[in-house]
Symmetry: C2
Subunit: 187 residues, 2 copies
Amino acid sequence: MARKKEYLEADVIDKAMNLFWRNGYENTSMKMLEKEMGINKFSIYSSFGSKYGVFTESIKSYKEKTHYMFEKFEKASNGVEDIKQFFYDSVDVCNQNGNEKGCFLTNTYNEFSESEDEELKDQLNSFMVHLKKLFIEKLRMDGSKDEDTILKQANFLVLAKHGLAAATRVNNQKEIEDYIEMTFKNI
Amino acid sequence: MARKKEYLEADVIDKAMNLFWRNGYENTSMKMLEKEMGINKFSIYSSFGSKYGVFTESIKSYKEKTHYMFEKFEKASNGVEDIKQFFYDSVDVCNQNGNEKGCFLTNTYNEFSESEDEELKDQLNSFMVHLKKLFIEKLRMDGSKDEDTILKQANFLVLAKHGLAAATRVNNQKEIEDYIEMTFKNI
DNA sequence: ATTTTAACTAAACAATTGTTTAGTTATTTA
DNA sequence: TAAATAACTAAACAATTGTTTAGTTAAAAT
């Protein structure tokens, strides 16, 4: 047919994701994307349509990247201990390569919470609702908790997870560990 | 001498602050500032020099706005109970007028954590260090805690406060309350 | 080998960004 | 009342944003 593409879309999206993850959407320019992705504007547009297209693909890629973590979490059956492990796993993903980028989804939530991009916001909200459901499910495994306590603790953990995601942009591994241990001390 | 200014700088900065608080720096344009502040670009520039000048003045104004809260906190002498009250006061400031804007400083930290604005980042970091010192001071009041525990708990509380600030962009008053109560359950 | 087709480079695009300037209006003071 | 001065309006500014287009290069297929 014709000339062959010189890059894999999955590869360049992975690079774009890291850029968006670190700097957010607005603070990432096409010029930065060109440099980081290693391809020309034309190629970016022909592959992803727009800057926003690159962004949504990056989010998709992030979700795939963290999918194994959720699968492991959903399959586990040790109750609260699983939630704690999920917290640790999340931190590992966030802090890989020694970076302090926080959670990409949480960062995006913070940046877009006042935007009018309802679709994106819905997506992020349903992610949190899903998380809460999983927490409730695991909390129920203990058997000894009443529903009211379970709901309260689930709310607490969702916020704690959100906070932790924000905090991984700031603090070091040791403090993060202390934080997680303290969080689960009376759950 | 000459014509009189038709606005008070403190007034228009207050309006600008609310805009930056809600949308962040990059997502706030001069056009939005003109509209919200109710004055012309020329006036903005003659009063504050630049968009960034408006921003730094907004931060200053935010600090003044929340100063009374810190004063109250520093003067208090009921230990952990004071910290808890400080958490509640912080939430009140963030959620005034039914808004969900989070903490202006935390938002700013998140937006600028990858920027090269070292002065601003230093400012925000020293704010956190100060907070931690205050927490340690209050934790010591209990008398029964050893220094190692105090440090761990202070670290925990700083992150919890940071997380709470991020979370007030998302959740409702009731969930926030649950979160605070749970946070202090075993401190 | 020639044609076809698609990915490449690079330049131009319109729109928006933050910023400055020129010209007008109003208030103060002498 | 007239001169001086500073705040106003509005237009132009250069630079950067995301996006598109024109022209070149290279790999398939006939």
